[in-house]
Amino acid sequence: MIWVLIFPLLSSFLLVVFGKYLSKKIVSFTAPLSILISFIISLFYFSRASEGIIYKIYNWISVGNLKIDIALKWDPLSSVMVLMVTGVSFLIHVYATGYMHEDKSFSRFFAYMNLFTFFMLVLVLSSSIIMMFVGWEGVGLCSYLLIGFWFEKESASKAGMKAFIVNRIGDLGFLIGIFWILYTVKSADFDLINAAAVSGKIPVAIASLIGILLFIGATGKSAQIPLYVWLPDAMEGPTPVSALIHAATMVTAGVYMIVRLNGLFSVAHFASTVVAVVGVFTAFYAATIAITQNDIKKVLAYSTISQIGYMIFAAGIGAYSAAIFHLITHAFFKALLFLGAGSVIHAMGGIQDMRKMGNLRKYMPVTFYTFLIAGLAISGIPGFAGFFSKDEILASSYFSGHKILWSIGVLTALLTAFYIFRLIFMTFYGKERMDEETKHHLHESPKSMTIPLIILAFFAAIGGYVSLPKFISEHSIWEEYLHKIIYVKSELHFIHSIELNLTLLSSALAFLGVLIAWYLYVKKPNLPIIISNKIPFIYKLLLNKYYVDEIYEFVFVNPFVFGSEGIYEWFDKPVIDGTVNGSGKTTLFLGKLLSKLQTGQIRDYIYSILFGVALLLTLLLMGV
């Protein structure tokens, strides 16, 4: 089992060390191959997953009662995740060999990508929360490296920094949560944590607090309100990176973490409610922003935030298997959307503004049809993957009594269909708005890019059939498979006739969304501008993403700037002006005094060390 992890790591290591000497051909062969091997190995072990095996590798930390092993957990949940991660990652690697072909740091790119896959596998395979945190930080690091991959571009390196810092805020909460768990449960093992929570060893209030702390970590990594601001900026990275990290795998880590600790979260009702509310509001909020964005990748970024909001929502209301189901289907169709967008950007020579595209359907048929399938899937048109998973979430929320949240979720489904078909119609239909030169270069992407698209499109189309709605079949393969890892089974009763109506309603809304998009962007392309002129306030609000970046800048960044400037103006200056030996000079003097300590003489340092040790020992012995 450990070999699943070793191959990506090995390949990444090789590429880092020997990357300079390897030809592009070898690199584009080894990097996807290592992932493919991992995928095959995990397929091979798949049948054993239902038993839930733990592969212990090494006894990592053993302090008193606390024992933390480096161990891999191979159970239904992790097996599904590993298959998804390696499978999607492999396809994206293949795609990237075509997409990144012109780039000069070809091998560096694949080294990071392989490293990322390795850390992601560590995250999903870990059996203890500490090891999960290692993977959690590892993927964060790789995400930072890959967002800032084109570090010559200032905006790219700034976006990388932003992602890193925003994630640190979330990680702080996550870390405190982990420590609290270690303190109360005296173990980091997921099974023991869940068991302790379910059996009531953790008081409910504390479980809620821990749950909220962990969820703060999830909001950072999974880009939820209020820490989502890094994800749209993360689109500065190469498109395969956006597809792999910021759509399919890493950003769903928060959902995975909540589902992994479902025992804890189902006890902590308050935390679960917070999770559900934040999730559904993020879904709605990000969908409204996605309507107005003109950058093709930004639309997809907000769509990702919105879809993850759905998953978080599902996890919050206790529909854990639905959350993971949506996670997997989303991985397929969102990776496909990003790769399709990448294919478009590739053909357009780097232009991402949808206002400069149009009628691309004629030039790139494969990209168009696969993109269309993904669009159908995400908007929940019956028959495609997204339909099944989204409906399961919405039905669960309805039947668990969260009617208000359910109505917001349904509204979001309408918005989803609208913005994604707005994107499709703007890009692939209508007038050709690009300039002549770009038009001249338009071409279908190479085979290495289109084949992954086709495979992903296949899964985006049929992936949903593993879990049919309850009114068709009471037994869902998916739910039965994941049954074992869920600690508190939900007692929801799905009333078939109502469920059927709900499904009809949401499908109708999806079709409505598509229709509105068609009417506004194909039939009457002038109308959107008229509308946006009619309600300039709302349009501007949405276009500028509710000014959240500006608000954050104002609330969190500016006080520091203002504060320091204020101190300079109102404190430093008068003091310096007023007195001859002002505070500035005092500081300078103190600094000089302190710098005398830095003598550069080794012996003085040894003396100070000895002095410290002697002092400490004496104090200890005197029993102070």
Binding site: L597, Q598, T599, G600, Q601, L610
Partner: protein, 100 residues
């Protein structure tokens, strides 16, 4: 029977002698010898406790400590030699780059 106190006492004395050598000598190589001396005192302590507690961990740590000390000597000497060859520095007073 060897008295346990005497072994620990010997270790303390050797450790302090090592530090004394380290701070009183002026050339890098002699300082290195002092450091080695102190390390050896600690090794003695490790072996002693390993025997008293009948636990092999102590001796295993001595093996590690020996190895690391060997590397340390090699690197330390390389630095000393390079300082001498490039900058003609062999006394620590001459090394003033670290001064604040």
């Amino acid at each position: 029977m060897i008295c346990g106190y005497s072994v620990i006492f010997l270790s303390i004395v050797l450790f302090l002698i090592g530090i004394a050598i380290f701070i009183s000598k002026k050339t890098f190589i002699m300082m290195l010898i002092g450091a080695e001396f102190s390390l050896n005192a600690i090794n003695l302590l490790l072996v002693f406790f390993s025997k008293v507690k009948n636990n092999l961990d102590g001796q295993i740590f001595v093996i590690f400590s020996l190895t690391v000390a060997a590397i340390e000597v090699a690197t330390g000497i390389a630095i000393a030699v390079i300082l001498y060859r490039k900058h003609k520095i062999q006394k620590r007073e001459d090394l003033k780059e670290l001064k604040g």
